[in-house]
Amino acid sequence: IFGRQVIEPDVLEELEEVLFTADIGVKTAQALLDRVQDKVSTKKLSDPKRLFSEIKQEIENILALPSEDFDISRGNPFVIMMIGVNGTGKTTTIGKLASQLKEAGHNVLMAAGDTFRAAAVEQLAVWGERAGCDVIRGAEGADPGAVVFDAIQAAKARDADIVIADTAGRLHTKVPLMEELKKIKRVAAKGTTGAPHEILLVLDATTGQNAINQAKIFSEALDGITGIVLTKLDGTAKGGVIVGITDELKVPVRFIGIGEGVQDLRRFKPREFVQALFS
């Protein structure tokens, strides 16, 4: 695949295997190699150890986007919207995040914005119990935007400083569902100034190249996302797709999911991620 003759073929093959089996993808792998070849002399590239460490550094540079803690004071309340395709871990991540924020001293409300899927509200209600946070729900089949709006009003009434809104999983290719998502965002903005202050796209680490389409289309639909949560990194998948996504969209990975328990959410650390990618 990499046409240049500068690098030893079997070193190249070894590098390709590492990158591709980690879901880094053809285009991103090529871009990484081009950049490294441009900045490093041929002599250095002929050393496989050197080549690998240059690639690792390049990946780390791409991933090291600034990602400060949420500035909760920006919102009244601060509204976080969780989005993504079906089954990636949105609802579970809300439970984990709410618990963390509550432990940090915040007053968190959850909005049961998935009014579509069977037992979605019940599932979030259990997480509410686990995290010690109230869940604002609507009637069955209620308008999701209305539930988020109600949650924002409830937050103001109860002095809750954070609202985390769950949304139904949806494939980015379904236009009416993407329109619904845009509407939820608009209604949230009516609820309080600047809402939603954070839009987190939840990506499953086992996803292949389709994650790139997901990120692009969700981002386009909502005029930008503010962060990514990469879940299920406790499995064997490496989540390499986020290298290309970060490079292109310049959106930071804020958190990683490393399990199904309420404590299994960590801040994303680029260096650790790169080590795991190559292990």
Binding site: I1, G89, H172, T206, Q209, T236
Partner: protein, 300 residues
Amino acid sequence: TLSKGFRAAKRKLSGVAEIHEDDIDEALREVRMSLLEADVDFKVTKNFLNRVREKAVGEVVRLSAKAKNRKVKVTPAEHFISICKQELEHLMGPVDTSLNYERHVSAIMMVGLQGSGKTTTAAKLARFIRDFQARKPILVAADVYRPAAIDQLKVLGERLGVPVYYEDSGDPIGICSRALETAKDKGCDTAIFDTAGRLAIDDTLMNELEKIQEKTSPENILLVSDAMIGQDAVRTASEFNRRLELTGFILTKLDGDARGGAALSIKEVTGRPIKFIGMGEGLDQLEEFRPDGLASRILG
């Protein structure tokens, strides 16, 4: 329609007066990129290309020599693409969407990674075998871990008018074996076990599946896999297969734009057939698998 990788391969072969081996290699490089972008497993791609190369170097080169002197029905480039498509379809076939019903109460066990679509697909399958195979299904809520998993299955069962067996025992092995007893009493002939999502490397939970299998000997063990899965497909499928001996796969969320290369990889590596595909969230959106549809999708 062909993805740009296959179009590029075709272009490379159309542009030369006479095709030689290294032209084939150039075309194969384009095909390789296309397959990797479609999430086909790295090693499976390698083996696939070697097989295509063997055929192509013989047939396409010969056809190209012929084409130099007279008109041919199929150009060498088109023949190359058809070799790729044939080889893809051959990899995904033969078609076998059958389910095994041997005992008085048969069982179908749904297994897979978290969030792949097992619960939804279990319900879809219940409807399918009832409406198209004259079976009398009962859904079994064997996921005792995920919040509201049992509620979810009960809601789906209710929508279909299919009975759901559940307990608050928290004992998946007991639930599945008692479900088979209950099925008999209720006049049901097929139990569909909805199990909890789990990692293939989670020894405790994989042992749980082995115990359910030991206790209930399900005739069908189906791995439910998300069509957008990447290179992890082979790792996961081969481990589930090693532990349980799967009887087949169901690929879900094919109503999106994931290319679905995992389909190729898991079939190639385990030899088990893909039985059904999930084409949406609706309970009627389950179809029997057909290789030609997926081959075209992977080609792009």
